[in-house]
């Protein structure tokens, strides 16, 4: 890197070639005022506030666009510069409303600060004021065109960083405004309400509604945290005033770099929702009665112990949670194993990525995302399969969009025409459940055309010959018959991926939630190894984890077959280590998974359950069956922040603290352990889950004493090699990516660098198998399920966030226009969706997002619960249910239809 020496205000400054004068000054600690410049955005040099004098140049130069040059002499504060800046500010203030008294942004407004600093009054030029009405036609934020200084930052954020192009300059001169096309509501524009425009606006033109009037910058404290809504793990600041969270802003976390999505920015008001549980509840004669903690805790300990003593430890089942912290997951599995003596502990990763854990562990030896989020931006080919990234992992979606604008090519395999598919160079719209055939055909083409990476295969893998043989029968023509994708499209996709320099694969539940989930995952691993796109920067096999701590919950051993760090319960050495540490004999039999526990409950084999932070009554397949199972239990205790559909069935309900009310760590999808901090106290008598777990253990006669979650993580580190070097002292700021085996280790950005975790990567040839249920005469359509941008999981949080609920209040089913026509269904009508397990009535959304044979339902809505319909058939290895495919039919619902 070439360095450049220059003088700024007489100070000798060394800068890098290509830097601007403003950047060089900033690094040297010299602040230059600016309005249109923002470090995340393209520079436009529009506002001229940042002017400086450069010796040898006649006119003043805008320092945000002028590059540094050797020997340059810059003066940032001459009288001439000051006068020019004053004029810029005077002109802006001439038509800026002076409403600082009531403006949300007062105290945090660049214009206000500069006016103060340069002593500029608003009445120097008697300018016309703008008199536009406040733009207030969406649930999330308002735009005040009168306060807007048309700096264009929001436009550049929306276009270049977020990739939505919802807004732009319109009209001219004094009338110039930032508008959507046709000045329509943002709701009708491509806007996704990420609110990232708000965070770059230098003035008070953009205001989140839920924060309005609650407090201004000098009144609140900012507490760092991690968004609880998905596995991306964006860092946020919670704005705290009078022990309440009154606002949110984006922090510069490694996964999000100052960006957020709609849920992160506008969805945190669930914390204050009146439904929050505040006291323990005990069911007496069918009704919940408030109780004291002591009473509730001893009842729980007593009942669970009694069931264990009477029927044996395996009559108990424990559901941990991908929403709570690592420390809490660790304690939950410790409670199940050490205190109550059973390996029946699992959580809803079973329902999303159990097949990733199983498949990738088999192929590579480690079941996590191989590479890091920010590496995506530098890949030259991105292959996304079975992931609606822009909605389910919105901030990761922006990395893909930015990679595309840098020239990367995108291949999307998805049965639906998602927004992401619309940006793709090739969209393979295959039938749900035909992934293996699709992937095999791509590999067939790669081998046939000799585009495979021979060196990589020879040096780093085993099992290639078997794969090669198996692939012979998967010509694209054969696969076309199975997948419904034209053969030539698969050919093109295969060649693009194989010839990439840095090809990366991202996938999610479209791959994993199948009876062939493990097969699908191993197929993806095969493709990555065949082309050598793994073990390097910006390549790899990257399962995008759904919930905020699903990676951590797995790492902590909230799984029936492994202790923390994936150490097997049936391995005597591992067991010995944990027995010693925990001071109890531990069970050696692998426990039951989520769906198996429900079956066992129905069969009367499981009699008591402890469910923490999960809502199987909405999330699990075949809900009617789940309900019957839970109702059979002699004792059910639920620890949660809301009275969920599952809590309604409990005997004891315990109120938990939410993420903002406790300390702990979450591990995001890229294996990054990040800290959360206590920002506000829990409501009423709610307690952090970790404390409750300790107290139950104690009441059951097992000493579980920790001063704080930091202590718990310290214990985890001694027992879990990949977390060995992780401690609270090291986690402030960026966090650490495991494996991080010792305190001096910097963490691991990408896995399998020179060697796979298991040594050689293993090709497992997998043949295509049909899903458990395929359309037939009675149920001619394929029902698939998934998420929407505005909601999260079972909706217990997002549906209690006011603005999210206002925009998307209920469920629907997507039906292709041709299919709808054939069935006589119009957009917006109420229809009945039926499968072999049950039916739900919901609104039809007629759209060509789905293909003719496929219908799609989001699963967040309890009153139109997609999971009444889904098939609990399991993948034989990972025991993940087939949530993505089942056979269904649609009819018009009743007579009183529509709206």
């Amino acid at each position: 890197m070439t360095t450049v020496n220059l003088w700024i205000d007489g100070k000798n400054v060394t800068a890098r070639q290509g830097m601007t004068v403003m950047e060089a000054a900033e690094e040297a600690g010299i602040r230059i005022p600016h309005l249109c410049y923002h470090p995340l955005l393209e520079k436009t040099g529009a506002c001229r506030l940042c002017v400086v004098e450069i010796e040898g140049a006649r006119a003043l130069q805008s320092s945000c666009t002028v590059p540094v040059a050797e020997g340059m002499r810059v003066h940032t504060m001459t009288q001439r510069v000051i006068n020019a800046r004053k004029t810029v500010l005077e002109l802006l203030l001439a038509n800026h409303p002076t409403e600082c008294l009531t403006c949300e942004k007062a105290g945090d407004c660049a214009l206000q600060d500069y006016a103060y600093e340069y002593n500029v009054r608003s009445d120097v030029y008697p300018g016309k004021k703008k008199e536009y009405p406040l733009e207030d036609n969406n649930p999330f934020f308002t735009r005040d065109h009168n306060k807007c200084i048309v700096c264009g930052r929001c436009i550049r954020m929306c276009a270049d960083i977020q990739g939505q192009y919802a807004i732009d300059y319109a009209y001219r001169g004094f009338s110039t405004r930032v508008l959507t096309a046709y000045d329509e509501s943002l709701v009708d524009s491509p806007c996704v309400f990420c609110g990232n425009c708000i965070s770059v606006c230098p003035v008070g033109a953009l205001t989140p509604k839920w924060e309005r009037g609650k407090g201004r910058k000098w009144q609140y404290e900012k507490v760092r945290s991690v968004c609880p809504y998905c596995g991306v793990g964006c860092q946020i600041y919670l704005h705290v005033k009078d022990s309440k969270v009154i606002g949110v802003s984006a922090a510069d976390g490694p996964a999000n770099r100052g960006l957020l999505c709609v849920k992160g920015r506008f969805g945190q008001d669930f914390l204050e929702h009146p439904d929050r549980l505040t006291k323990p509840l005990i069911r007496v004669d069918g009704r919940f009665v408030e109780a004291e903690w002591e009473e509730a805790l001893s009842l729980v300990a007593e009942k669970l112990s009694a069931i264990r003593d009477k029927y044996g430890p395996d009559a108990l089942g424990f559901l941990s949670s991908a929403k709570v912290t690592n420390e809490e997951n660790y304690l939950m599995q410790k409670l199940a194993r050490a205190v109550f003596g059973t390996n029946n502990v699992d959580h809803c990763a079973r329902l999303c990525h159990a097949s990733s854990v199983a498949g990738l562990a088999a192929s590579f030896g480690s079941g996590a995302m191989t590479n890091s989020i920010e590496e995506i931006e530098n890949a030259d080919v991105i292959f996304v399969i079975g992931s609606n990234t822009k909605e389910a992992h919105p901030v990761i979606g922006t990395y893909i969009t930015r990679a595309i604008s840098k020239g990367a090519r995108l291949i999307v395999a998805d049965p639906r025409k998602t927004d992401l598919a619309a940006c793709a160079d090739v969209h393979l719209q295959h039938l749900p459940g035909s992934d293996v055939a699709l992937l095999n055909a791509m590999m067939h083409v790669i081998l046939r055309d000799r585009l495979h990476n021979e060196d990589f295969i020879r040096n780093r893998t085993e099992g290639f010959t078997e794969l090669k043989e198996m692939l012979e029968e998967y010509s694209p023509e054969v696969a076309e018959g199975i997948t419904g994708v034209p053969a030539d499209k698969m050919e093109i996709a295969a060649r693009i991926f194989a010839t990439a320099k840095k090809g990366t694969i991202l996938y999610s539940m479209g791959i994993t939630q199948h009876t062939t989930g493990t097969d699908n995952v191993m197929s993806i691993a095969n493709l990555a190894m065949l082309t050598g796109h793994i073990g390097r920067e910006s390549t790899g096999v990257n399962p995008l984890r759904g919930q905020n701590n699903v990676q951590g919950a797995c790492d902590m051993g909230a799984l029936p077959n492994v202790f923390p760090g994936y150490q097997r319960v049936d391995d005597p050495t591992a067991r010995g280590k944990f027995e010693k540490a925990w001071g109890r004999a531990l069970p050696d039999k692998v426990g039951l998974t989520v769906v198996e526990m429900m079956n066992a409950a129905r069969a009367g084999q499981i009699r008591g359950m402890f469910i923490m932070g999960e809502n199987p009554m909405v999330s699990d397949p075949d809900i009617s069956h789940v309900k019957e199972s839970l109702e059979q239990l002699e004792f059910l205790v639920v620890l949660d922040i809301f009275p969920t559909e599952t809590a309604q069935l409990a005997h004891v309900v315990l109120p938990a603290a939410a993420y903002a009310e406790k300390e702990g760590t979450f591990t995001n999808t890229e294996r990054r352990v990040q800290r959360i901090y206590r920002a506000v106290p829990p409501p009423g008598q709610a307690r952090p889950d970790w404390l409750v777990l300790c107290q139950i253990a104690k009441a059951a006669g097992y000493e579980m004493d920790y001063d704080s979650p930091a202590d718990i993580l310290a214990e985890v580190a001694t027992l879990t090699p990949s977390y060995g070097g992780i401690s609270y002292e090291r986690l402030d700021g960026e966090g650490l990516q495991w494996p991080c085996p010792d305190p001096g280790h910097p963490g691991t950005r990408y896995l399998h660098k020179d060697k796979f975790t298991r040594g050689l990567g293993r090709f497992y040839p997998v043949a295509f198998k049909e899903p458990a249920e395929w359309p037939d005469k009675d149920y001619p359509l394929i029902l698939s399920t998934g998420r929407v941008l505005y909601h999260y999981h079972t909706g217990s949080m997002s549906r209690r966030a006011r603005a999210l609920d206002e925009l998307v209040p209920g469920g629907y089913v997507e039906i292709h226009p041709k299919t709808a026509e054939a069935l006589g269904i119009a957009d917006g009508q109420m229809v009945r969706v039926e499968t072999r397990r049950g039916w739900v009535d919901t609104k039809a959304r007629v759209t060509d997002t789905v293909s003719q044979r496929v219908i799609f339902m989001p699963f967040h809505f309890a009153e139109a619960a997609a999971n009444v319909l889904t098939n609990p058939a399991l993948d034989p290895v990972a025991k993940i249910p087939e949530l993505k495919v089942c056979a269904a039919r649609v009819t018009l619902a009743g007579k009183g239809d529509a709206q």
Partner: protein, 158 residues
Amino acid sequence: MSQPQTINLDAVREILSRHKDTKGALITVLQEIQEAYGYLPRPALSEVSAAMGVPLSKIFGVVTFYAQFHLKPRGKHVIRVCLGTACHVRGGERMLEKVGEILGIGPGETTDDQKFTLERVACLGACGLAPALMIGDQTYGRLTGKRVEELIKQYREN
């Protein structure tokens, strides 16, 4: 909200087929569309956006930036009332009000029968005749309320 418009887009497609791969051809495309349709119909702009890969928000920005483009159909006769300095002092504003009153529309609007569009302009270069207005490409000066009435009557009839 988009009003349902049934518009034959063949001309748009033809125009696009000639220009869509040329960089910087947006303005030309818009001009040709306006020539073909008399204004820029919304479905045409959506088509342009999809074919040329230019976001609709950007197209809207360009269209509203240049005075030559029109998003709404325009009347058979475009009346431009001058509000330049000379006309302003001599009652231009009153003339504008008068025209608006007679036609029942404001500046920038078109009558329901598509006969008249009313616009305001800065200076017609006929300051000696202030207050002035133009109908089509004909300039009329030294206006009075009565004269305005007569003129509109006259144009309405043909």
